[in-house]
């Protein structure tokens, strides 16, 4: 996609936004907290940062991706035969003859496991962008329960039982920077939480791309005559009297009306057409499918989900986009081959996404603030709820493991850097001295998602101690901080 086309699309979005706002009566909106966003398209945000959250569900095997062990290095220390000593069994040999090169991939200071890339991979490779990528290793997830780990990373706070506490990091990012865009927080398949921020920053969550099209479009079959629609809109915007309409005057009712305002405005902005690339036959859609390597109609593929995220960002629709990018990898009973096959499509989609953002020019107003491409203005986090055991279990698979890693890339992130580590024996999470900026044998703290949350906020110059979290950012991950 050319930069001029992107700029035009962004301008169209803003024009649509303003048209939508005025057509619905600005006064009506302003009196009701404002609809998410469209109204704010012309407002001044506190930061120009975009955020992308890419979730790999099921718990990923770090040996195959972000925290590999090279069986050929160190005199064969990590050979499978030494598993009783290292409490680690890379098992890379099993990948031979199964599309993957059974070796550690090196790029700059980074190392990746063999599931990261395939020898014959058609699309961009993740390692190509090593200088924009940082890997955080040795995070202690504090849980081996899927929902708990997932929600821990979603909010940066350890859940209460299964229940999330606090707001989604995406919502915090959007609210703290006063994000604009038609839908400030957009989520494909991930839960969103908003505790205490204005309703405009509640995530718009859809389960699938098909659902998104239904949400963003109201087909003719549903529309009444224009005058009837106007009468309905005026009825919905009427001032509710708490004297005569006690039931309609609850706080929840007020939030429902805000949401209704938001839905009407979102419909007017005609966003659905931007997301028809999964099936549409126009050249641009075909190009998107080729770039992200998915077939027409494959809406549930990692590539389609990644393309959705790119479109939402590049078209100025959303500032903070969350997607489930990975296929499930909860492979207790499957060995390295099946896990690698399940994990790789998400990584390839992530690589395509980074490549897209790194090769697409940002609109002029963003470029003036520094940074030519969309990747210069977007911070990406890729994560899973926990990792998998370094030893194979009795069924040849891997169970849940506390010490995990995550990948950060793009704006505000110091690329070509690995921070934190897992232990040489058993891959436990090593303690980290946040002041000294290094792993320490004694003292220090265990790194957790709360530190990743603070790092993301700090990367955009946003306050990190909001909402009662006092975990420090990891300075070594921040561009220009070291």
């Amino acid at each position: 996609m050319g930069s001029r086309a992107e700029r035009q699309q962004v301008e169209v979005t803003r024009r649509d936004a303003l048209r939508a706002v005025f057509s619905l009566s600005v006064a009506g909106f302003a009196s009701r907290l404002g609809l998410p966003s469209l109204a704010r398209a012309a407002s001044t945000a506190k930061s120009d940062r975009r955020f992308l959250f890419c979730f790999f569900p099921g718990g990923w095997d770090q040996l195959l991706f972000l925290d590999p062990r090279d069986p050929d290095a160190d005199g064969g220390r990590y050979a499978d035969a030494n598993r009783a000593v290292t409490l680690t069994e890379p098992g890379y040999g099993a990948l031979a003859g199964h599309e993957f090169d059974p070796r550690v991939i090196r790029a700059g200071n980074l190392t990746f496991g063999p599931a990261t890339e395939k020898p014959g991979q058609a699309g961009p490779r993740l390692s190509k962008y090593f200088d924009r990528i940082a890997i955080l290793r040795g995070m202690n997830m504090g849980t081996l329960g899927h929902e708990v780990g997932y929600r821990y990373f979603l909010t940066g706070r350890f859940p209460q039982g299964n229940f999330a506490r606090g707001s989604s990091i995406a919502t915090e990012c959007a609210a703290l920077e006063g994000a604009d865009g038609a839908i400030p927080v957009l989520s494909l398949g991930l839960e969103t939480y908003n505790e205490g921020y204005p309703g405009a920053y509640s995530g718009m969550r859809v389960e699938s791309l098909d659902d998104l099209l239904v949400v963003l479009d109201r087909g003719k079959a549903y529309l009444e005559k224009d005058a009837v629609e106007e009468a309905l809109a005026d009825y919905a915007r009427r001032k509710v009297s708490c004297t005569t309409d006690l039931y309609g005057c609850t706080r929840l009712s007020a939030r429902m009306r805000e949401a209704d305002d938001g839905a009407r405005a979102t419909l007017l902005s005609n966003l659905a057409q931007r997301f028809r690339f999964v099936t549409a036959g126009d050249a641009e859609s075909v190009g998107i499918r080729k770039r992200y390597d998915f077939a027409p109609g494959a809406a549930g593929s990692p590539g389609a989900r990644a393309a959705f995220a790119a479109m939402a960002l590049k078209q100025g629709i959303s500032r903070c986009v969350s997607i489930v990018i990975g296929n499930g990898t909860d492979t207790h009973d499957a060995g390295n081959v099946l896990h690698a096959k399940a994990l790789h499509p998400g990584i390839a989609a992530l690589a395509a996404l980074i490549d897209d953002l790194a090769t697409s020019e940002a609109p002029e107003d963003l470029q003036k603030k520094g940074g030519r491409t969309w990747l210069d203005h977007t911070t990406i986090l890729a994560y899973s709820e926990f990792a998998r055991t370094p030893l194979l279990n009795s069924r040849g698979g891997r169970d849940h493991h506390l010490a995990s890693s995550c990948l950060l890339a793009g704006a505000g992130i110091s690329g070509n850097r690995v921070v934190g580590e897992t232990s040489a024996t058993g891959m436990g999470a090593c303690r980290y001295d946040f002041k000294a900026g290094r792993v320490v044998p004694e003292g220090g703290e265990l790194i957790g998602p709360e530190h990743v949350r603070a790092t993301l906020l700090a990367s955009a110059g946003l306050p990190t101690e909001a909402a009662g979290i006092h975990a420090p950012p990891i300075r070594e991950l921040l561009a220009g901080a070291v």
């Binding site: 009783a84 209460q160 969103t192 659902d211 309905l232 039931y247 805000e258 949401a259 839905a263 436990g428």
Partner: protein, 427 residues
């Protein structure tokens, strides 16, 4: 991948033979090893390990979730981290000293499956299964394999078990339930959970001391009948107050939205729906009469019970938009049906007016009908001349007077307004 191992809930000969299209309920008796929901296939597969099963029980039935204190975790090179028994390993033992003994109650239920390990087939110890080379023997996969490991040849559920815990394995999950009842936690937690669900908020301090003991006793005296507990909470003075302070309103879930729409309008949201389909030549396929609320249930917030176990009921933009579509679809069908129905008592929307009536031709009928609709959609009993009715009259008049519009357009608009109002979408 290995095949999923599931035991039939009773001996196959005791299970009724039921054709696939038979939707009636049939009873059968489960074996003594079973314990309510805890040994259903759904629970065992959704919570695939003894630890996950115990953790969920602690959350759902004891209201005492495990919360790790990460700060107490030692460095990874601390010798203590090599301890294989999680009940003893430093850091882990904060939770696992409780989890492991409780997990013993699930010791005879296979992990990542729903199979009961019959003692006659799976004795607590089988030395022949200690050999790692027998990993391919399905039965031996349930045993500790290597000769070097502690407990080699033990059934997995028996590893590190004390004699006391071995007794729990024999008791099965019903022992866990009895223990929770004996401690009073099950009653207390169930009451607290039911209260939260029905009142939309936890019990306040004063209510815990004033209401909790009474509800606990009531629950126990009714043989732990959840139905009776719901009745007791719903008829409590706090629930009867009906104001926002006493009971926190909530948004309808996907299934509640469908049930409410069908109740009010007589029609579900059914429509043709195009979905992406990589197997179709053009990448699309059409569902001609899709139950749209079912199709969109995830986006409407329904938990999928795979990765999420609780509904998301935020008043989101997505819900507002889809509720609007649902209202439009159901109201269109309902008003069309009413226009074709000569018998007014059978009509749902046009009960006290004819399809041609407007405010100008039958003001009394219109007001009476709108008051009836406020009751039908909102449960709000108001007089025909009440202030709540006035905005609906205005809407009806505007919609009816629109160019090319008919009274049916007006009543559809009224129906849509009623079904998209927070008073309809919250409870």
């Amino acid at each position: 991948m290995t095949a999923l191992e599931v035991s039939p809930p009773a001996p196959p000969e005791a299970l009724p033979q039921i054709p696939y299209d038979d939707l009636t309920w049939h009873e059968y008796a489960r074996g003594d090893e079973h314990s309510g929901v805890l040994t259903t296939t759904a629970y065992l597969l959704r919570f695939p390990t003894a630890r996950a099963r115990v953790s969920q029980f602690r959350i759902g039935m004891m209201c005492r979730p495990f919360t790790p204190v990460v700060a107490t975790f030692p460095g990874p090179n601390d010798e203590c981290t090599r301890e294989p028994n999680l009940a003893k390993r430093c850091g882990c033992r904060n939770c696992h000293a409780s989890i492991e003994p409780m997990g013993a109650w699930f010791g005879r239920w296979i992990e990542r499956g729903a199979k009961y390990l019959e003692p006659s087939i799976f004795p607590p110890f089988d030395p022949s299964c200690a050999d790692r080379s027998r990993r391919d023997d399905a039965r031996c996969r349930e045993y500790v394999p290597t000769a070097a490991a502690e407990g080699a040849g033990s059934l997995l559920g028996y590893l590190y078990r004390t004699p006391y815990e071995q007794k729990r394995i024999d008791e099965g999950p019903r022992g866990l339930v009895h223990a929770a009842i004996a401690s009073g936690e099950l009653e207390r937690c169930t009451v607290a959970t039911a209260w939260q669900r029905l009142m939309g908020r936890p019990m306040r301090e004063a209510e815990v001391s004033a209401r909790m003991p009474e509800l606990e006793r009531d629950f126990e005296s009714h043989h732990h009948s959840y139905r009776e507990l719901v009745r007791a909470v719903a008829t409590s003075p706090e629930a009867q107050r009906g104001d926002e302070q006493a009971r926190t309103p909530r948004r309808l879930g996907a299934d509640q939205l469908r049930a409410s729409l069908v109740e009010a309008t007589g029609f579900n949201w059914v429509a043709p729906h195009v979905v992406s389909d990589p197997d179709s030549p053009n990448g699309r396929s059409e569902m001609p009469n899709a139950d749209m609320i079912e199709v969109l249930a995830g986006t409407l917030g329904r938990a999928n019970y795979s990765t999420t176990t609780s509904d998301q009921l935020d008043p989101a933009i997505t819900f507002a938009k889809l509720a609007g579509d649902a209202a439009r679809s159901s109201c269109r069908a309902s008003v069309e049906a009413d226009v074709a129905e000569a018998n007014a008592s059978r009509r749902r929307i046009l009960r006290f007016v004819s399809p041609r009536d407007t405010s100008a031709t039958n003001a009394d009928g219109v007001h009476r009908n709108l008051a009836y609709l406020a009751l039908r959609f909102w449960g709000l009993a108001v007089a025909p001349d009440a202030a709540e009715i006035a905005p609906l009259v205005t809407l009806l008049d505007r919609a009816t007077r629109a160019q090319g519009a008919t009274p049916a357009d007006g009543w559809r608009a009224v129906c849509i307004a009623l079904a998209t109002d927070p008073k309809f979408l919250t409870y």
